[in-house]
């Protein structure tokens, strides 16, 4: 199972539409870093609107991919986290600090523009 990564100008856009198992999440992490490298993208939006469950493992993979992309020089914004997912993550004790987020794809792109001073 591979998650499609779309390129738009110097951004990469990802909408996660499938139930994330551990392997799919790990594959996604590798695919995204490779895409950042080959496309020289400077910004990434990962939209989680359709994701109904984020457990500690998926949260760790997402948090890591933000830090890894940051090391490479690409900014990542997570968008569309559902209310139920946000409540569950905090109750579980996962705070995803230092992870940039936005309400939706549109706000996410706006945030990237601002961060890059474009």
């Amino acid at each position: 199972m591979r998650i499609p990564i779309l390129k738009l100008h110097n951004y990469l856009l990802i909408s996660i539409q499938t139930e994330l198992d551990d392997q799919t999440a790990i594959n996604f992490q590798e695919d995204l870093l490779r895409e950042i490298h080959t496309t020289e993208a400077t910004g990434v939006v990962i939209d989680l609107t359709s994701v109904e469950v984020i457990d500690s493992f998926i949260a760790k993979v997402l948090g890591d991919v933000v830090s890894m992309s940051d090391l490479m020089g690409a900014k990542v914004v997570l968008t569309g986290i559902q209310p139920a997912v946000a409540m569950t993550l905090i109750e579980l004790g996962i705070h995803l600090q230092n992870v940039p987020t936005a309400l939706d794809l549109e706000q996410g792109l706006l945030k990237l523009h601002q961060e890059m001073g474009e």
């Binding site: 139930e19 198992d21 551990d22 392997q23 109904e52 469950v53 984020i54 457990d55 500690s56 493992f57 760790k60 559902q82 209310p83 139920a84 997912v85 409540m87 569950t88 109750e91 579980l92 004790g93 996962i94």
Partner: protein, 133 residues
């Protein structure tokens, strides 16, 4: 409705199977979206603990009822190494896997009732309940 069902946890994909079954059952029982997410996430954590620490085990689900309440009972059991220091494991922030898994305190917060029996060398059984509000 079949009130008792289970998923064997042997490979990584079984974690997904367990949470899908749990979500389906919690929807049938009448839980709202937020509680469905709590229950599904709790199952995911319990199933991953089995997979990581015991290698294999089972997650059982049961729709439960009292006179004025209905809910779900989830039992996670394995014949793995058991837990040596239970009080330490139940502390927030304790992990033997380097931050994989929020651990049992997180699961306890997501659910309403939480009970654990464990014996070193024999295995672990965790029973946890959530009631429809």
């Amino acid at each position: 409705m079949n009130s008792l069902s289970y998923v064997s946890i042997m490979k990584e994909w079984d974690i997904v199977a367990a949470r899908q079954m749990g979500r389906e059952l919690s929807k049938q029982i009448g839980f709202g979206t937020v509680d469905q997410a709590r229950i599904t996430t709790a199952i995911s954590e319990l199933a991953r603990n089995i997979y990581l620490y015991a290698g294999e085990g089972q997650i059982c689900f049961e729709a439960i009822k009292t006179l004025d309440q209905k809910g779900i009972l989830i039992i996670a059991k394995d014949n793995g190494p058991g837990i040596k220091d239970l009080s330490q494991v139940m502390e927030d922030g304790y992990s033997t896997s380097g931050g994989l898994g929020a651990g049992l305190p997180g699961v306890r917060r997501l659910m309403d009732e939480f009970d654990i029996e464990t014996e070193v060398g024999k295995g672990t059984k965790i029973s946890t309940k959530k009631w429809v509000r």
